[in-house]
């Protein structure tokens, strides 16, 4: 057998394997999506329904109509007819957006400044470098338990401010390491040239380095947004009434009152869309993000 034939055979094997892997990766997501457009009688059936017989948007209408408490015991088919779209039902989406965006900005601001100092001036002045890293490594429950205790005393529980502070603090170590890895890629001489040209230390950062690092900032921002958006435990323990994000709403559907698989799936689809888009956008940097900048792809 010559080289070419072996090459073709190898490729064939590779593609078969890859298609199989792709099916495994996509199927659960497909299942959620297809459930979200199924009618109630197809949500759970034996054998289960792989392709919705009649795709409908009722489940989406359901979650965007009046709030859930009024709908207990009803199925989307009838609910849609009675209850029109309501702004109140959009609250989880707005809450998720507000919390994720503002926490991301705060973490980005604080973390970037520290990352610059760490990259250029070493340890002096910057936070002790391993401390924030450890902070990131502990299971959130354990980090949050003392925070719950503290918030209860400070009356920060179930407030936007409290949760934004929590999110910012949990993600700022990642910003620190990620941005440091980006700063480290900019030669030190860029700052020094700016300083010799007459810039102050701040000027060297702001006019010299920052413009070169816009892409890194964007990547880090999107990555942190994904993490904040995905949080569940934080709001579970510190939110609830006043603050309700999408994952929390999702959990609400599962607890108790019969399984509303269709609306849950619709909520799930809405929850995963932003991270999927952002994730694909910054795919090249995901490794760097998850490994604290230690592995660069």
């Amino acid at each position: 057998m010559n080289r070419r034939a072996i090459g073709i055979l190898r490729n064939l094997f590779r593609y078969v394997a890859l298609v199989f892997v792709s099916l495994l990766a996509l199927f659960p997501i497909y299942w959620m999506f297809s459930t979200s457009i199924k009618l109630a009688n197809e949500w759970v059936a034996t054998p289960s329904v792989w392709f919705p017989s009649k795709p409908v948007l009722l489940n989406y209408q359901f979650i965007f109509s009046m709030s859930y408490e009024y709908l207990i015991g009803r199925v989307p088919e009838e609910a849609a007819a009675f209850y029109p779209f309501s702004w109140a039902s959009m609250k989880p989406i707005f809450d998720s957006l507000i919390l994720s965006t503002s926490s991301t900005l705060i973490a980005l601001f604080a973390g970037t400044l520290s990352a610059y100092v760490l990259s250029r001036y070493g340890r002096k002045g910057a936070p002790p470098p391993t401390f924030p890293l450890m902070y990131r490594m502990f299971p959130p429950v354990m980090v949050i338990i003392p925070v719950v205790i503290m918030y209860a005393t400070l009356r920060l529980t179930d407030t936007y401010l409290g949760i934004i502070i929590l999110y910012s603090t949990l993600t700022v170590p990642l910003v620190l390491w990620l941005m440091k890895s980006f700063f480290d890629e900019i030669p030190r001489e860029i700052d020094e040239a700016a300083i010799l040209d007459g810039c102050s230390l701040f000027g060297a950062f702001y006019r010299g380095v920052l413009p070169l690092i816009k892409a890194g900032l964007a990547v880090t921002g999107l990555f942190i947004f994904m993490l904040d958006w995905s949080d569940f435990m934080g709001v579970l323990l510190l939110g609830g009434r006043n603050v309700v994000t999408i994952p929390l709403k999702l959990a609400e559907y599962t607890s108790g009152h019969g399984e509303l698989y269709g609306p849950m799936a619709a909520m799930g689809v809405i929850a995963v869309i932003p991270p999927l888009i952002f994730g694909i956008l910054i795919q090249k940097y995901l490794v760097r993000g998850f490994t604290f900048g230690a592995v660069k792809a």
């Binding site: 890859l18 892997v21 990766a25 996509l26 659960p28 997501i29 299942w31 959620m32 459930t35 289960s48 973490a107 604080a110 400044l113 520290s114 100092v117 760490l118 070493g122 002096k124 002045g125 936070p127 391993t130 401390f131 924030p132 890293l133 902070y135 490594m137 502990f138 299971p139 959130p140 429950v141 354990m142 980090v143 338990i145 003392p146 925070v147 205790i149 503290m150 209860a152 603090t169 700022v172 890895s181 994904m226 569940f232 435990m233 323990l237 994952p247 999702l250 849950m264 799930g268 929850a271 995963v272 991270p275 994730g279 795919q283 995901l286 490794v287 998850f290 490994t291 604290f292 230690a294």
Partner: protein, 294 residues
């Protein structure tokens, strides 16, 4: 103040992050240590200063608590099995992607989709997949030829398997991506040198590529171990720790004691202990390959 003094400048720039970390880092930990020595029960005693100091009772109690021991054991099982599977699958997948071939970018994007999903949503998805009448049983039926009805979420050990499968589905992509970066970053010359010296593909992989990947593999495993220990969201939505206690991990157990039974003092003692163990693990094992060269 002279902002052109590097020391002043870096203090100033470090200020916002330090503020965040001290506010939610140092302060709560001190509080946690205090509370762990009290019997604080917020329903009866509104503020922690209303509670009574009871010494090390909480620590002695939870060490005797069989549920806690079991949750630790379960966490260890989940972590070890899931990480092993993820590592093996991730490495195989990475090897499939080393060469260049048409469509590579698309396949990579598809393969890494699971890790971008929101963990809570993943938990919910797998809850649907593993229903009695779910598609997993459908596939098994199709293979077996007769109707198979496995109670994935209602049988204790199968629920644990389901949890592991969920973690494997969501996080194999990360392992794959890290290992792939490692493989692609390998210098080509030593590999070619090995070929020319007479090594076969397998020998080159075994004697040249694997040793050079050591650091990256270590990083991948450490990172994933840390993340797997955190496991909470997915399990919470998928099984709620059930049936019974069969999928209750440390995180879930702490949650239950702390927030269902609101025994804050007791929870604080457990949290402190786990934190300490993890801190030692992080300090002496995990941080080494990760520590950026400052």
């Amino acid at each position: 103040m002279d902002f052109n003094n590097p020391k002043t400048f870096s203090r100033l720039f470090g200020l916002p992050m330090n503020a965040l970390l001290y506010f939610l880092g140092v302060f709560p930990i001190v509080l946690l240590i205090y509370v762990s020595f009290t019997d604080w029960y917020p329903i009866g005693q509104q503020y922690f200063w209303d509670s009574h100091f009871i010494g090390a009772r909480n620590f002695i109690d939870f060490l005797r608590d069989p549920l806690f021991g079991m949750s630790v054991l379960r966490t260890v099982i989940v972590v070890v099995v899931a990480i092993t599977l993820e590592f093996v699958f991730g490495l195989i997948l990475a090897l499939l992607f080393v060469d260049r071939f048409p469509g590579k970018a698309i396949f990579v994007s598809i393969a890494v989709l699971p890790m971008m999903s929101v963990p809570a949503v993943t938990g919910y998805i797998f809850r649907m997949l593993f229903l009695y009448a779910g598609p997993v049983n459908d596939v098994l039926s199709a293979i077996a030829g007769t109707r198979v009805s496995v109670g994935w979420l209602t049988t204790g050990w199968l629920a644990l398997v389901s949890v592991i499968l969920m973690d494997v589905w969501q996080w194999t992509p990360l392992m794959f991506l890290i290992l792939l970066s490692g493989l692609l970053a390998l210098p080509q010359d030593p590999i070619n040198a090995a070929y020319i010296l007479g090594a076969s593909k397998w020998q080159t992989f075994r004697h040249v590529m694997l040793p050079m990947m050591k650091t990256v593999m270590l990083i991948a495993v450490v990172i994933r171990t840390m993340e797997a220990i955190k496991l909470f969201d997915g399990v919470f939505l998928m099984t709620h720790g059930g049936p019974g206690y069969s999928t209750q991990t440390v995180s879930l157990y702490l949650y239950e004691i702390g927030f269902k039974y609101v025994r804050f003092g007791y929870t604080a003692a457990m949290a402190i202990t786990v934190l300490l163990v993890l801190a030692l693990f992080t300090r002496y094992v995990a941080i080494r390959p990760l520590r950026p060269k400052v």
